[in-house]
């Protein structure tokens, strides 16, 4: 019998010019950090060092905030909404023009498959700027009263899972509403943000409106604690989110937090099973499971458990794990050694707690950070792998018998970011959508995003929404009680 082997189809990395070192983007130009310290960004698929990245210290954070304040006071706050919008449209267009380059760079620095950076991340980035560009001169019609005012300087801290997309989610609404920003990308994935700085230059964005400072947690903390920052927007772990909430307590700073999740993906016996399997797969293996809203807990109705599991396992044997730049790769590299260690640790805990572990046969590259798509069955609510966010390609499978039990289990978590429900029955979809305590409910689909669609969590998954009209509120002095 014939075997259809897909030959390597690598995307060329020649389009990307990665410099050997990068400074900080402050006041419209790249500057060296005051202390001169730096760290390395590596390609997680190969462990190759990509560049030396400046580490911003206290004086650098001061300089960036000061540049943002100056830009806010002197230019941005007095610019018309129309012109702010036009800058954002320019940025959106340049992102489209340079989309190939951005996609390749994102895959190199992050480890995600080029198919995803090319077809999901970068188009969404451009769309997000395009969407909020249009709001800039229409804020009076956004339902927040006439002439709603920006906060001023926004400090923004983003994670490594969708580096440029999270940047877009932060910067686009902030600028549209008239704030200026100091953004810190994650230390393992700073490169696309630094390329974005170049895009700001090409767009002739006034200096200081966007400042990009690189560094690790300490840099982020300095930004959060900076007295001249008016607004904090953070996407990342619940643990750090709580620290930020503590930090801003008692100040006049506002914070919006997009944090962790442990989403239930609920499959009923009348579900469109083949599409449900696709939804399960994209729910947990999209972006190596490095997704805060990942469907990491699969809840299957017992009457279709065997069927769903068999279909799921068969489907997983077709997943292609490997070189992120290969256009046929479905699952790329784990973003960092540290994250890989955490995934391994929690998976080992899953096994030791008695869950059954399964992965499809797949050869992993020798170098780089890799973890195979993994399914745990026989998981109960008490298992750590059913409660803690693994943030990796690891699915925990649980069962339920009735809709009420499904809801009870789905909601039995401190998180509340997202949930999935699969059933062919319309009234049940709506009932489940009402019952699930989560900010996003995907019914008969999963992991869908759109600039016009508000996204954010209940409970310990954070507060505030990004996307849509609702996303404006995070950057305007409105909507809060006096």
């Amino acid at each position: 019998m014939t075997k259809f082997e897909y030959a390597p189809a690598p995307e060329s990395r020649a389009i990307v010019d990665i410099k050997s070192s990068y400074g900080l983007f402050i006041g419209g130009r790249f500057v060296d950090p005051t202390q001169g310290t730096s760290f390395k960004s590596v390609n997680p698929a190969t462990e190759e060092v990509l560049a030396e990245i400046a580490e911003a210290g206290r004086e650098d954070v001061d300089a960036a905030v000061s540049a943002a304040r100056t830009a806010y006071t002197k230019t941005w706050s007095s610019l018309s909404g129309r012109d702010r919008g036009k800058y954002l449209f320019r940025i959106a267009r340049i992102i489209q023009e340079r989309s190939r380059e951005l996609a390749v760079l994102e895959s190199i620095d992050n480890g995600k498959p080029i198919r995803e950076s090319r077809d999901a991340d970068i188009p969404q980035v451009a769309a997000h700027f395009f969407y909020y560009a249009g709001w800039a001169d229409k804020l009076n019609y956004a339902g927040f009263g006439t002439n709603p005012q920006p906060y001023g300087v926004a400090g923004q801290i983003i994670p490594w899972n969708f580096p440029l997309l999270m940047l877009a989610w932060k910067i686009a609404p902030a600028l549209a509403t008239g704030n200026t920003v100091v953004l810190k990308p994650a230390e393992t994935t700073p490169l696309s943000a630094l390329l974005f700085a170049e895009i700001c230059q090409q767009a002739e964005l006034p200096p200081g409106v966007v400042n990009i400072i690189t560094g690790a947690g300490d840099t982020g903390q300095m930004l959060v604690e900076h007295p001249d920052v008016d607004k904090i927007a953070f996407t990342g772990s619940t643990e750090v989110g709580k620290a930020i909430a503590r930090s801003v307590a008692g100040t006049s700073k506002k914070a919006t937090l997009e944090l962790g999740g442990k989403a239930a993906n609920v499959v009923f016996d009348d579900a469109p099973l083949d599409q449900a399997v696709e939804g399960i797969v994209s729910g947990i293996f999209f972006n190596q499971g490095h997704v805060c809203c990942a469907g990491s807990r699969l809840l299957v109705q017992e009457s279709v458990y065997d069927d769903v599991l068999a279909r799921l396992k068969r489907r997983l044997t077709t997943l292609r794990v490997g070189d992120p730049l290969d256009k046929n790769t479905d699952v790329g590299a784990i973003n960092s050694a540290e994250q890989l260690a955490r995934i391994r640790e929690l998976s080992d805990v899953g096994e030791s707690e008695g869950a059954e572990r399964w992965s499809p046969p797949c050869e992993l590259p020798d170098r780089g950070f890799w973890f195979p798509p993994t399914v745990f069955t026989g998981v109960s609510q008490a298992h750590r792998i059913a409660r803690e966010e693994i943030f990796g390609p690891v699915l925990s499978v649980l069962t339920f018998r009735t809709p009420a039990e499904a809801v009870e289990k789905a909601n039995n978590t401190p998180y509340g970011l997202s949930a999935g429900v699969w059933t062919d029955k319309g009234s049940r979809i709506l009932w489940m959508s009402q019952q699930l305590r989560a900010g996003v409910v995907w019914a008969n689909t999963f992991n869908k995003f759109d600039p016009s669609s508000p996204f954010g969590g209940y409970k310990e998954s954070g507060y505030g929404r990004e996307g849509g009209r609702h996303g404006l509120e995070a950057y305007l002095k409105v909507g809060e009680a006096a």
Partner: protein
């Protein structure tokens, strides 16, 4: 021995003879099949269409696709001359390159079966004939059976019949079933390929139900379209049919072939179908016995791409025969 993609059982405990024992049980069974989410199915097909098949994989896919073609002419203006020319091309698609495999079959109207049979002689290329009042199927069962028997008597190895879409859409599943069973009987040893005419079925749920219905009735191959109705074959329709044959084998142990037909003209389209087969039903279906393309102009595009792979130059249509 190739590994099978798991062992899924859709129909635990279901005895198929029970299923087909009455109109009511047939309906109950077909409506109990898992639903197909329209958007999800299309998204899956579109996702697989982004596979990048290059170099050795592309060479492999092109030759495989050529060997899966049912080279087809189904025009009112068809003549014995036209059919003979096509049969010649079917056996040696590129006269300048003997390494090009022959196609799987030629597909003609019943009255030209004898011509095709004679032209193909002892070739491995099969003769397929549309029958049963193609393409609308609006004749009596007696006529359909006679049409089939004549085609087989004239030398058809395979019969491509159309289902009664009117009966299917009216929910007369038993009628559709009986008609297929009757034609199957008329086929004798010839393979029966049953055309669902998915362009008239409207929904993927219907495509799935029709697939199961005709498989239960004895089809050897399920085929998308006559080519006379738009839309003809599409990737998502074929995806749903591939899922059906996969699940049917898991349930019954019987493997059924799939044939998208109509509208597949370019090499990149054919390769997308092969990717779909590979990642849905699995490699067991990657053979001319189990997967066919109903096409005509596709062959020349495959030949041009094939030559490009060998020479590095883009080919021109003047260098390939028009038959």
């Amino acid at each position: 021995m190739t590994p099978r993609l798991g062992d899924v059982t859709t129909l635990d405990e279901v005895r198929l003879s029970d299923v087909t024992s009455s109109e009511a049980s047939l309906r109950q069974f077909l409506h109990g099949l898992p639903a197909v989410d329209h958007v999800g199915a299309e998204a899956r097909a579109a996702g697989l269409a982004t596979r990048s098949i290059k170099t050795t994989a592309k060479q492999f896919a092109i030759d495989l696709a050529i060997s899966m073609i049912d080279l087809t002419t189904l025009e009112g203006q068809d003549t014995p001359g036209k059919v003979r020319a096509m049969c010649s091309k079917a056996q040696r698609p590129d006269p300048s390159d003997p390494t090009v495999p022959p196609v799987a079959a030629v597909c003609v109207y019943p009255d030209l079966v004898a011509t095709a049979r004679a032209a193909l002689g002892s070739s491995t290329v099969k003769v397929a004939s549309v029958a049963t009042g193609f393409p609308s199927g609006r004749t009596s069962l007696q006529v359909k059976q006679a049409d089939t028997r004549e085609a087989v008597a004239d030398g058809a190895d395979e019969v491509d019949m159309v289902i009664d879409r009117g009966a299917f859409l009216a929910g007369h599943y038993g009628q559709v079933f009986e008609e297929i069973a009757a034609v199957k009987e008329a086929c004798g040893d010839a393979h029966l390929k049953v055309i669902l005419e998915t362009g008239e079925l409207s929904t993927y749920d219907n495509v799935r139900r029709a697939s199961w219905l005709v498989m239960l009735a004895g089809a050897d191959v399920i085929k998308t379209s006559t080519g006379k109705v738009a839309p003809a074959a599409t990737l998502p329709v074929t995806l749903v049919m591939l899922e059906a044959v996969r699940d049917f084998r898991d349930t019954t142990g019987r493997q059924i072939g799939v044939k998208p037909a109509g509208g597949i003209r370019a090499t990149k389209d054919a390769i997308r179908y092969l990717v779909l087969v590979n990642e849905t039903a699995g490699e067991d279906w990657l053979a001319p016995e189990w997967f066919r393309f109903g096409a005509s102009s596709l062959l020349n595009d495959l030949l041009m791409q094939r030559q490009k792979m060998i020479t590095g130059r883009y080919a021109g249509p003047d260098y390939f025969t028009l038959d």
